[in-house]
Symmetry: C2
Subunit: 495 residues, 2 copies
C-alpha cells in the first residue's frame, strides 16, 4: 500500500511486484490510464496478464483478483481450404470451444496461386486480408458465444499457417514467393497487435504468427513438429502432413531435416473432379468383399462421392482384387459390370445409379486413378528421398507421426497396400490429428514454446525436392503398385 | 541479393544485415507491407531508422540509400507555462528550427493545481491531453515548415516535463499526485507510439517521456542533470532550476541528492500581480544610480512592467540604496518621491506615469516585495538545506549550474546581493540555459542517454523538504537581506 515512506508510483509499484518475472515488462498506454483507479478499487491487489513475445515482456492488462474474468487464448489453424479455431483458458489450459469454417478467401480463388496473383493487384492483398480477418473475427465471436465468455477476455491469438496463407492473412504482397528464387516477405512475422487484424479480442490483445522456413515450408509444419515432439526425442522419427503439399520432417533432438513437395490434388478434396471434402454421405471406407467390394459412407447415408481417404481404400481394394494392374490401369475383365466408358476413356462404377444418393452412378475415371498413382508415388518418393538424404532406413524410424485430415481418416493398411507409405509395423504409425492446431494451442501457453518454435526453425535443414534430379528416378519406380521393387512391401506381396 | 542458394525472406535478409547492432530488432507491421517493394526498388540496399527504447530495439523505417529523406527528432521542454520545441537531424545532430508557445492547457487553468483538479472531472484528463497534444502537434508542423522538411521525417519526440505536466500530456488521472501520500500514476512513462498523442510525425514515430522521481521532482530536472553532466564529474557541483518550483540537485559521479520546494510565484511571471513574463518592453535590468536607480527594458522600449529577473535586480538596488530595510520593508524617507500608497498599503513607483509605456505609473507593492523576500528566503534555504544534508559547504562546490529562464536572465550579482544565492566567486556560477530542452535533445541521440537518464533516476536520493522541521528555522534566518548572519555574505556586507 502507498504511504509517505513508500510513495512510489502506482505503475512502478505494480511492476516492482512483478519483478520476480525477471525483466521489467513494457506497459501499454491504455493501462496507464486505468491502473490508478483499478488498484485503488481492488485494494492494491491485481492479477496480471503478461505476454512474452519477440524478446519483450509486456503487461497487457490487470484483472480483479477476486473477479471471474479470465485470460483466454485462441489457436488458429489457417488452412488454404479450412480454418480451424480453438478457444482455451490460458490458466487452466482447458479447451472451451472449437469451430471450423471454410477459408473465406476461397471466394477469390480456391487455390493458393490464384490468391497470390490476386494479392499482386491493386488493393488485392488488402482485400484478401479483409476477407480472412473477418472470417477469423466471426470465428472468435462464435467461439466466445459458445463458451459464454466475453471477447474482451481473449488476449492472444496464435496463428499457424503455411507461408503463403500467413502472408495473405497479414495483407502482404506474396508474389515473390512463387517466382524464382522464391523469396517471402518474411520468415519471422512475429507478434503484432491483434487490433491490426481483428476486432473481437481485448483491445490490448496480441496476435502471434508461427515462423516459416521458406516459400514452401510454412509455420503450420513448425507448429506440427512442436506438437509431435520429434525434436525432443533421442530416437529418430518422421512427421508427415499431407495437405495441398506433402510436408515431411525427419529428425530427433540432435537434427531435423524437412522437405515439402507437391503430393497432388487427389489427396485433398475439392480440386480433383471426383474427390470430395469429407462430409455426410461421402464414401470414406471401401472394404474388399471377395472379388468385389462394398463402400461405407460418413453418417451411413446414401453415397454422394468419394473423399481422399476413401479413394486410397478403393485403390487398395482394386489392386488386391486385380481390378487395376500394377500400373493402376483398370482391367476390364476383372472389373466386370463395374467397367464403363466415359468421354471415350475407361472408368469404374463405384456405386451404381440405383443405390447412389446423387441420382446418377458414382464413378472413378482412369484419369483420376492415374492422378492418384502419381500422388502416391510422389508421397512415397518424398519419404524415401528424405530418409536416404540423411542415410537412415525406414526400419530405423521409431515413429511415423501422421498429421492432418489425411492422417486422421486414412487407413494405413490401405496406404501401405498401394505403396504410398512404407511397409512398416502398423503400430509405428501414430495419428496425431490436426498438429498445426495443436501446436498453435501449445504456443498460447508460454514463451518456452515460442523459443522452441524459433529453435526448430533455426535447426531445420530444408531440402528443396524440386531441384533434385534423383527424385525423378525414384518417382518412376514408385509409380507401380506397390512398387517396382516388391521386396520393399513384403506384407503386400504376401496378400 | 536473393538467389536460389540464398533465398532467405526479404525482411530476414534486412535484419541479418542489421545483426551488427546486437539484438534482433522488432519490426512494425506497416514495414512488412512495404519492405519487398522498396528493397527491389533500391537494389537491396537501404538506410534503416532504428529506435532503442524500453529494452527493445525497433526498426521503424527504411529509407532510400541514395535519397535525401532524413531521420529527424524533436525535443520538447513541456513547461507549465511555456512549451519550447527544437527540431534536429538525428544523423548530423544539427538544429534545424526552434519554436516557443504558451502551454494551451492554460485556458483550463494557469497553475498546475487547477489543471489537476480539472483532470479529475469527467473527460477532464482527455480534454487537457487534447489541448496540449494539439499545441505540440501545431508546433511540430511549424518546426517542419520552418526547416523545409516533411513531418514524415520526424521519428522521435522526446518530452521533458515535470511529473504533473507529463501526466496531463498523457491524459492520465493525476489527482493522487497532490494528495498525501502523493502517488503518481507512473514514474517511468517510457516510450509509446507517437500516433497516440500526435499526428504530425511519421506514422511509426515514437514518443519518449523522461522518467520522474516522484510527485514534485520531474523528468525536466532529470533532463537538466543529464545535460549539466554533474552526474559524470568527480567534483561535487550543484544544479538549480527555478520555475514554479525551485529544483535543486547536488552531487557528483558517486552520489546525487535532489530536492524540490516552492520558491514562490515572484520568480515566474504571470502569477504575481506585477511580475511579467519576459517580453518586449519588460523591465529586465535595474541599475543603481547614486541614491536612485535607472531601468532597462527588453528591446529598449517604453517600460510595461517588471519580470522576475528585473524584480531581483530592483530588490538588490533598493537594499543597497537603503530604500528597503533588511526585512524588505520600504523606507519612506529613502524612497522620497518614489514612495506612494496603493489600496492603503505602501508601494514604490518604479517608473512614473510620464515615462511608462502603459499610460500609468509602474509600481511595486510592499506585498510583492514581501512575496519576493519569501521566495528568495525559500531559494536560499533550499540550497542551504541540501548542502547541509550531505555535509558539504557552499565553498566545496566546483560549479553551480543555473538553469531555466531564471538562470538565463538573472544577474548573479543581484541575486547574491539580496541573499538569494550564496556569496561565492561569481565564476563558479554557470548559466546553462534551458537544460530541460537540452537534455531532451541529447535523448534523441541514442539509448546511451536513455540508460543514463534511468541511472540518474535510480541514483538520486530525494529529500522531501516539505516534511523537514529544521527547514522552517533556517527559512526564518534567510528572510532578512541578505541574511541574519552577515558573515555568510561578505561581499554584500562590503558594499
Amino acid at each position: 500500500m502507498p504511504s509517505l515512506s513508500d510513495n512510489s508510483a502506482d505503475m512502478d509499484r505494480l511492476l516492482r511486484a512483478l519483478s520476480g518475472t525477471g525483466t521489467r515488462p513494457a506497459v501499454d498506454y491504455s493501462l496507464f490510464q486505468r491502473v490508478s483507479r483499478l488498484l485503488r478499487q481492488w485494494d492494491f491487489s491485481a492479477r496480471c496478464v503478461l505476454f512474452q513475445g519477440g524478446g519483450q515482456l509486456e503487461l497487457l492488462d490487470i484483472l480483479d483478483p477476486r473477479g471471474e474474468s479470465r485470460a483466454l487464448g485462441v489457436a488458429v489453424d489457417l488452412g488454404t481450404t479450412r480454418i480451424v479455431m480453438r478457444l482455451v483458458d490460458l490458466e487452466s489450459r482447458e479447451t472451451l470451444s472449437e469451430t471450423v469454417m471454410d477459408n473465406p478467401q476461397i471466394s477469390l480463388g480456391s487455390d493458393i496461386l490464384t490468391r497470390i496473383h490476386h494479392a499482386a493487384t491493386d488493393e488485392g492483398a488488402e482485400e484478401l486480408k479483409t476477407l480472412v480477418c473477418r472470417g477469423v473475427d466471426d470465428g472468435l465471436e462464435t467461439l466466445c458465444l459458445q463458451a459464454g465468455v466475453s471477447v474482451q477476455e481473449v488476449y492472444i491469438v496464435a496463428i499457424s499457417g503455411n507461408t503463403a496463407m500467413t502472408h495473405l492473412f497479414m495483407g502482404l504482397p506474396a508474389e515473390h514467393i512463387i517466382r524464382e528464387p522464391y523469396i517471402p516477405v518474411t520468415n519471422t512475422p512475429g507478434t503484432h497487435r491483434a487490433s491490426l487484424f481483428l476486432e473481437h479480442t481485448n483491445p490490448e490483445g496480441r496476435v502471434f504468427f508461427f515462423p516459416n522456413i521458406g516459400s514452401y515450408f510454412g509455420g503450420d509444419l513448425i507448429s506440427g513438429i512442436l506438437f509431435s515432439g520429434i525434436h525432443r526425442q533421442k530416437e529418430t522419427s518422421l512427421l508427415v502432413d499431407v495437405g495441398t503439399n506433402a510436408e515431411v520432417v525427419l529428425g530427433n533432438r540432435d537434427w531435423l531435416v524437412g522437405c515439402a513437395g507437391a503430393a497432388g490434388p487427389a489427396l485433398e478434396g475439392g480440386v480433383s473432379s471426383m474427390g470430395m471434402t469429407a462430409g455426410d454421405g461421402v464414401i470414406d471406407r471401401v472394404r474388399r468383399d471377395g472379388d468385389d467390394f462394398t463402400v461405407g459412407t460418413i453418417g451411413h447415408l446414401p453415397p454422394l462421392g468419394v473423399c481422399g481417404s476413401g479413394f486410397i481404400d478403393l485403390a487398395a481394394v482394386l489392386f488386391l482384387t486385380g481390378m487395376i494392374d500394377a500400373k493402376g490401369k483398370l482391367v476390364e475383365s476383372a472389373c466386370k459390370g463395374r467397367y464403363t466408358m466415359e468421354h471415350g476413356l475407361p472408368a469404374l462404377i463405384v456405386v451404381p445409379e440405383e443405390t447412389s444418393g446423387t441420382g446418377g452412378a458414382i464413378t472413378v475415371s482412369q484419369a483420376s486413378l492415374d492422378s492418384l498413382i502419381r500422388s502416391k508415388a510422389a508421397m512415397y518418393t518424398i519419404l524415401e528421398t528424405i530418409v536416404m538424404k540423411v542415410g537412415v532406413g525406414f526400419g530405423d524410424l521409431e515413429k511415423i507421426h501422421v498429421a492432418g485430415t489425411f492422417g486422421a481418416y486414412i487407413d494405413p493398411e490401405s496406404a501401405i497396400s498401394i505403396g504410398m507409405i512404407p511397409d512398416l509395423d502398423r503400430n509405428r504409425y501414430e495419428k496425431i490429428g490436426n498438429s498445426s492446431l495443436e501446436g498453435a494451442t501449445l504456443m498460447l501457453y508460454g514463451d518456452r514454446y515460442m523459443d522452441e518454435a524459433d529453435a526448430i526453425r533455426d535447426r531445420i535443414t530444408y531440402v528443396e525436392l524440386n531441384v533434385d534430379q534423383d527424385f525423378m528416378i525414384r518417382f518412376s519406380g514408385a509409380k507401380f503398385i506397390p512398387h517396382t521393387d516388391p521386396d520393399l512391401f513384403p506384407t503386400v506381396t504376401k496378400k
